[in-house]
Symmetry: C2
DNA sequence: AAAAATAGCAAGCAAGCGCTTGGTATTTTA
DNA sequence: TAAAATACCAAGCGCTTGCTTGCTATTTTT
């Protein structure tokens, strides 16, 4: 039985070790899925929509992904990997803590709002639609992400630059930042840079 | 042709003029739909799920609602009407502005997090799945809701109790509050009262 | 008491869904 | 250069979906 060889899911789509979406057909599917999931939601997006968006027959997408769930997981993993990389880089900068906070706010808003960055918004909106087995595969990366914010905000509270307890501060700040994904429009008059400066200024207690 | 008379959609389900869900069969459908839409999302919830939840045949729900979209609109309208009533009552109280802010934060968190209040969370999550014609019917109520927060926060900024410009403050605060709907668990150790006090304290600049 | 309105049930239809299958052209490896 | 792997296409299968239809039992109105 010469069964067709399908590499289906264990497949690198990177260049020089760095995650680089859209480098091949599989990456195109992930990007198209991310865009459509963000626009219409996971459940309301059909696998035909996604295949059409990259000029494929609807069944052909299942050569690259075993299921629609695996595609959703790939979208979120792309977002988490890219976001964690950007965030780690900012955290490693030798900056005064208030400046680091401003840079982190700007970076997080970039991850959420910059054109083409649909991955994390999909995760924020459709995390509940991802089956538990796929969630587990992402939680480690997700925790690494949160840890950076945990450390950053704990230090800001200790320095008296944020009010209240660290947990309330973290949940409030990340809630406010994440919620921008639901209302921010690229052509809405305010740039990401400006929004980041204003929001950081709203939270920080300058001394 | 003795066409069956179906009152479908123009139908009051109130008692003594006050919106009182679950008072009749139609109200039961709205509440069941709200719970299921919140748990699984609008698109992933079937009309059979909803009918089953109230012990109806799947087709019978369409005696009360012309379409699944009308059911979604009814869920959101129930949330907006109830939320606006609670919010207006708080705004009318003769309180010092900082106390009024604390009361508004508590009320808003109640609308989002109290058991059985699934309506506004559905609106926050699935607003994008509502067809434009239904959106327009809700926007007036939605604006009345926002106006209260607009006035409240403008006054707080003028009084020096909130930092930054009023728009940034409003978007940040409402973002932080609304995002609690995605992570708050009733059995998560912290009560709504406590959370409200902490979040209000995080935002306010006490003088 | 007749008529009409209310609130369903039982059955099912057409369209759309995720996914599978058998095959093929091209590229890569042995 | 033969064999194997890659990256699809064309067709369609079985199931689920929102919604419709014809009918009936009960309550309300005239």
């Amino acid at each position: 039985m010469p069964k067709a060889a399908s590499p289906n899911s264990v497949k690198r789509y990177s260049r020089k070790g760095l995650t680089m979406a859209k480098a091949n057909r599989r990456g195109e599917l992930v990007c198209a899925a991310a865009r459509l999931f963000r626009e219409k939601g996971y459940a309301a997006t059909t696998t035909r929509d996604i295949a059409d968006a990259v000029g494929m027959q609807s069944g052909s997408a299942f050569y690259h992904f075993a299921s629609k769930q695996e595609l959703l997981a790939a979208v979120m993993e792309e977002g988490l990997t890219g976001g964690l990389a950007r965030t780690s880089e900012v955290m490693a900068r030798p900056l005064p803590i208030a400046e680091k906070f401003r840079a982190m706010v700007r970076t997080h808003l970039g991850i959420l709002l910059e054109a083409g960055n649909d991955f994390i918004p999909v995760m924020l909106h459709d995390w509940g639609r991802l089956e538990p087995v796929y969630k587990q595969r992402l939680i480690a990366t997700k925790d690494g992400y949160d840890a950076h914010w945990h450390d950053l905000i704990a230090e800001l509270v200790r320095a008296g630059l944020l009010a209240g307890d660290a947990k309330t501060a973290r949940l409030s700040i990340l809630g406010a930042l994440n919620f921008t994904a639901t209302w921010f429009k690229v052509d809405g008059g305010v740039s990401i840079d400006t929004l980041a400066r204003r929001m950081a200024g709203f939270f920080l207690r300058e001394t």
